[in-house]
Symmetry: C2
Amino acid sequence: MRCIGQSSEEKIKEAARKVFLKKGFDGTTSRDIANEAEMNIALTNYYFRSKEKLFLEIFKDLLNLYFQDTIDIFNKDIPLREKIIESVDHTFEMVKKEPDLVIFIMNEVHKEPERLVPDLNFLRQVKNSKLAQQLSDEIVKGNIRPIGVENILPMLCGYIQFIFMGKNIHMKVFEVTEEQFAVFAEDHKNIIKDMIINYIFLPK
Amino acid sequence: MRCIGQSSEEKIKEAARKVFLKKGFDGTTSRDIANEAEMNIALTNYYFRSKEKLFLEIFKDLLNLYFQDTIDIFNKDIPLREKIIESVDHTFEMVKKEPDLVIFIMNEVHKEPERLVPDLNFLRQVKNSKLAQQLSDEIVKGNIRPIGVENILPMLCGYIQFIFMGKNIHMKVFEVTEEQFAVFAEDHKNIIKDMIINYIFLPK
DNA sequence: TTATATTTTAAATGTTTGTTTAAATTATGC
DNA sequence: GCATAATTTAAACAAACATTTAAAATATAA
């Protein structure tokens, strides 16, 4: 094995990740991946047996990327207000760093929901996080409105995600540049945080 | 021309609309469309010249469906509070009726933003609606926080849309049925309305 | 060095893709 | 009814598809 740089297997996986994220499973051909990796077309099947197997491996990684840090934040031992801010901020940074991730996950799961089945145990962590207990506690104390994880999850993650999923539409509708969109997104992020906190917490 | 029922052209267009919405452009084959329409494979090209042309025609219709009613509501001569409620309610009904529409538009525009270029004039109506003026007026009067159309649009439409785009993910994460999801969605719709109004309007 | 195992290659596999063809069928206008 | 136009059909098209093959090249281990 050549030990300078990545192995061929890694090169292919990274290239495939890039192309799948950009074009989705249906829009990606084996040749696209081979070209991106600058490798022979046969190597994809030599290392991963099929396009589908390679996709599923990458999909698993990306689903992890999509949820793991959020789960970790939900499980942190910090006050609710802080957790809300950190969650929104993290989602914002995540979609900024990996702009194709959300629409990719949404679209692939929409077309074939059963792709999530092998990761059901992983997904369950979302609803069983510390945040759930934290919400119940604060509700009992009368500090916040009665609200469950299922309703706060989209607020903390989904709203921001939507802004970036609809980036191209926004840019056309409001006729703005990338830079202007970035300003808008930052602005909207702060509105979301204010709005959630303003809504959730009850006046003393 | 046979005048009982639809024309062949209409049959094909309707079938194509159905399949494109479900599987997207890349995931749809000419034979899928012909099968769905129960028509000969050659008729797609006889009536629409190519798969691409047929797609663009349908895409235009769907983009209209996605935006037109919202634009109309934005232009209504009704109080802001009422307009907010009506917008959210309309979005909710729209995505319930056409569950694949939002992810379809999002995904196709994400892959190829230039598909929106022919409809730029149509899209401009969103930001030039009466709602924009209405917001400025209320801001000057000190009734609401300073906020622009670009920030209120996602609140009125996007948040609800996200809930339905992520339907399959939600159902797996929270292990609920279709019926339970419907209850959740309804619930979240009301939260969104409360949250927006609670945030936008300043106390007298 | 030599034998063996791993990796890479060009070429070919059989399907499926979008699209076209030319003939067959049906409708239309006089 | 008959000529013409419009529609529908089965079949074929080349190109692109995922995947396989078998030989060539390279690395490994003795």
